[in-house]
């Protein structure tokens, strides 16, 4: 974990420092009248101090544990494709509407990432979408996005 601790603590330190510096521009105020930047300044300072402790701890750590490979042997394909699908869902839901985009999302996830069969995935997608539509839109009145395409049809 040592190498990873060094990396993660450096990232934290840089983030803490940038929070700290931007808080100053919001105005720190005084101890008697804290300004809008006071709390985030405090947060930035906490992040900086404790990430520095993690960094030093890892730097001087004498433990001889075997190197941990966090990023080896991972199923990158699945990881990246799930994220791509999720982002695509958010960007397309306004155009395609809830029903079409959910059918696509659930089908693709089940078929290609969940390794279910074509028929199972299709059935799963249809059932899930129908249930969600009934529960959230009709029963709970969440007004899920109708989508441009649906509004052309109706």
């Amino acid at each position: 974990m040592r190498k990873h601790d060094l990396i993660s603590s450096i990232v934290w330190f840089i983030m803490g420092l940038s929070i700290l510096l931007s808080s100053i521009s919001f105005g720190l105020g005084t101890l008697s009248v804290p300004g809008p930047g006071f709390m985030s300044f405090l947060a930035g300072a906490i992040i900086c101090v404790f990430s520095a402790i993690t960094f030093l701890g890892a730097l001087f750590s004498k433990s001889k544990e075997a190197a941990v490979h966090l990023w080896a042997k991972l199923n990158y394909f699945k990881l990246v494709s799930v994220l791509v699908l999720l982002f695509a869902y958010v960007f397309l839901i306004d155009t395609l509407g809830f029903i079409i985009s959910t059918l696509l999302l659930v089908f693709l996830l089940m078929r290609f990432l969940g390794s279910l069969g074509w028929f199972q995935s299709l059935l799963g997608a249809i059932l899930t979408t129908t249930c969600c539509y009934f529960i959230f839109d009709l029963w709970l009145r969440t007004s899920l996005p109708k989508g441009v395409i649906t509004s052309w049809i109706f």
Partner: protein, 503 residues
């Protein structure tokens, strides 16, 4: 109002058909959440939070609470039969529960965990009832400076008890405090860290954050591995009711587990996970035959299961009486109450006795329901375990998406949710403790407000926190905690208490 009157009010509320119904729904959902690995109560409660907007707040909270303590029941089933904890608080139950199942004693293991859970859950609720009113009375004396110091103590305690190192969980607490400041400043209206994005001016919402950190990140961590099919132990489940010999063995185990669980549950960051570990350690030390632990000792199942259920009751105390959540689940429940226009805190018992006593009484009812759901219907949950992950994870992702959308009908909340999913996944990889972040995120704005109010009251005297006795006690306790974690001798002790856990 004394406790008996309160209980009567509670019975009237809890036994209304609607509330019974939602209590039942909560218990079923909770058991299911507990049984299914890879889906924790925090994510599910935030998932169902938007659904409760259409209910009255009492039914809503009764249901959400049911999910929380219900999950504590269900988690052990998976631990015993599959050797995978269905829920983080049941990690230790794997050690002896699974071994018991291998020896053909799956029945008594399941029975003991359900009955132990029931006893501890019920006693926990009684303690909750007895202890809340005097605590709320005491909390009435708290002004903004006391609240501020108490929250400082809470955050320190959380870092102290968290599974990762103190420096890491303090870093996460800092990050949580920072996230809490995003948006318009309440006092001056100045936009902070909004990057000119209109979605950020109102601040970041709790629900997408929690769903991303606990729901999506869990799915990502599961998907990165090449999933192996889960093997459910093929055994006949018989003799659910433990033998007389078993009972004699666990008599004191249950008592100790309940007490340890309840008091650790009250502490911020303590909660069910640590309670179960602590109880296991204590039982091993108290046992006449410690060598049987890890080979299928029934005490190793009864203790932790009692502890995590009692902890689930204890955790309600700080939230209901002080308005300060003790763990991530309570933070979401607090959020739910506030959205419903109910402000938890010392005034809750007086202002909304129906809600306060109704919710607590429903927990008795819920525990009875759970006993029946988990003993005679155990076969049903075993079948739920057979649902392949390929079906489960698309549903989890979809619910997270819809849940964060439906909060405000805002598409960008889904975007925030996915981002926090990625962030949470990285946290898991690099072993940073997510609950600290969530708690600091909820407490941050409260701390900022109480800090400003304290200074306003004291005419800008920053030493006000050191001039009021209760506040001084909290601050001194916080300093002692921090120091003790730095001093080498005590540090060792802490490390033996805190066992490495995954959330």
């Amino acid at each position: 109002m004394d406790i008996l009157n309160g209980f009567i009010v509670g019975i009237q509320v809890a036994f209304q058909p609607t509330n019974l119904f939602f209590c039942f729904i909560g218990c079923i959902t909770g058991t299911l959440v507990g049984v299914l690995p890879g889906l924790g109560p925090t994510a599910v409660i935030s998932l169902l939070l938007p659904m409760t907007f259409h209910l009255n707040p009492i039914s809503g909270v009764i249901m959400l609470a049911g999910i929380y303590y219900g999950a504590m029941y269900g988690g052990s089933t998976t631990s015993i039969l599959v050797n995978i904890p269905g829920e983080a608080a049941s990690v230790v139950t794997c050690l002896d529960g699974y071994k018991m199942a291998l020896k053909g004693r799956a029945g008594p293991a399941l029975g003991m965990s359900a009955i132990g859970s029931f006893i501890a859950g019920t006693v926990g609720v009684i303690l909750l009832m007895v202890m809340s009113p005097p605590l709320a009375e005491l909390a009435l004396k708290f002004g903004p400076p006391e609240y501020f110091s108490l929250m400082i103590l809470g955050l320190t305690l959380l870092a102290f008890l968290s599974s990762s190192s103190i420096s890491r969980s303090m870093t996460m607490a800092g990050a949580g405090l920072f996230l809490g400041t995003v948006g318009l400043d309440n006092l001056t209206g100045l936009p902070r860290f909004t990057f000119d994005l209109s979605t950020l001016t109102d601040g970041i919402d709790l629900v997408p954050v929690v769903m991303g950190l606990f729901g999506v990140s869990e799915v990502l961590s599961n998907l990165e591995q090449h999933i192996a099919t889960r093997e459910i132990l093929k055994t006949k489940i018989k003799n659910l009711f433990p033998s007389k010999k078993d009972w004699l063995k666990v008599k004191w185990t249950l008592v100790r587990g309940t007490l340890i669980g309840f008091f650790l549950g009250i502490l911020p960051g303590g909660g069910a996970i640590i309670a179960s570990f602590a109880s296991y350690a204590v039982e091993k030390r108290c046992s006449k035959e410690p060598e049987t632990f890890g080979t299928g000792a029934i005490e190793g199942v009864a203790g932790p299961e009692a502890a995590n259920n009692a902890a689930a009751s204890g955790a309600f105390i700080p939230m209901l009486t002080l308005g300060i959540p003790a763990n991530a689940v309570m933070a979401v429940l607090l959020g739910a109450l506030i959205i419903h226009g109910v402000q938890p805190g010392p005034f809750l018992i007086k202002e909304r006795p129906d809600l306060f006593w109704g919710v607590i009484t429903s927990m008795y009812v819920g525990n009875v329901m759970l006993l029946f759901l988990n003993l005679p219907l155990i076969g049903l949950w075993v079948r739920a375990l057979r649902v392949p992950y390929g079906i489960l994870f698309p549903l989890i992702l979809l619910f997270c998406l819809i849940g964060s959308f439906s909060l405000k009908n805002n598409i960008w909340d889904m975007f925030t949710m996915i981002i926090f999913g990625i962030v949470g996944y990285l946290f898991r990889k690099y072993k940073y403790d997510t609950p600290s972040l969530v708690l600091a995120f909820v407490l941050g704005p409260m701390m900022e407000a109480s800090l400003r109010r304290s200074l306003l009251l004291s005419n800008g005297n920053p030493f006000v926190f050191f001039q009021r006795p209760i506040s001084v006690v909290f601050l001194v306790a916080a300093v002692v905690l921090v120091l003790s974690s730095v001093l080498p001798g005590l540090r060792k002790k802490r490390e033996t208490i805190v066992v490495e856990t995954d959330d």
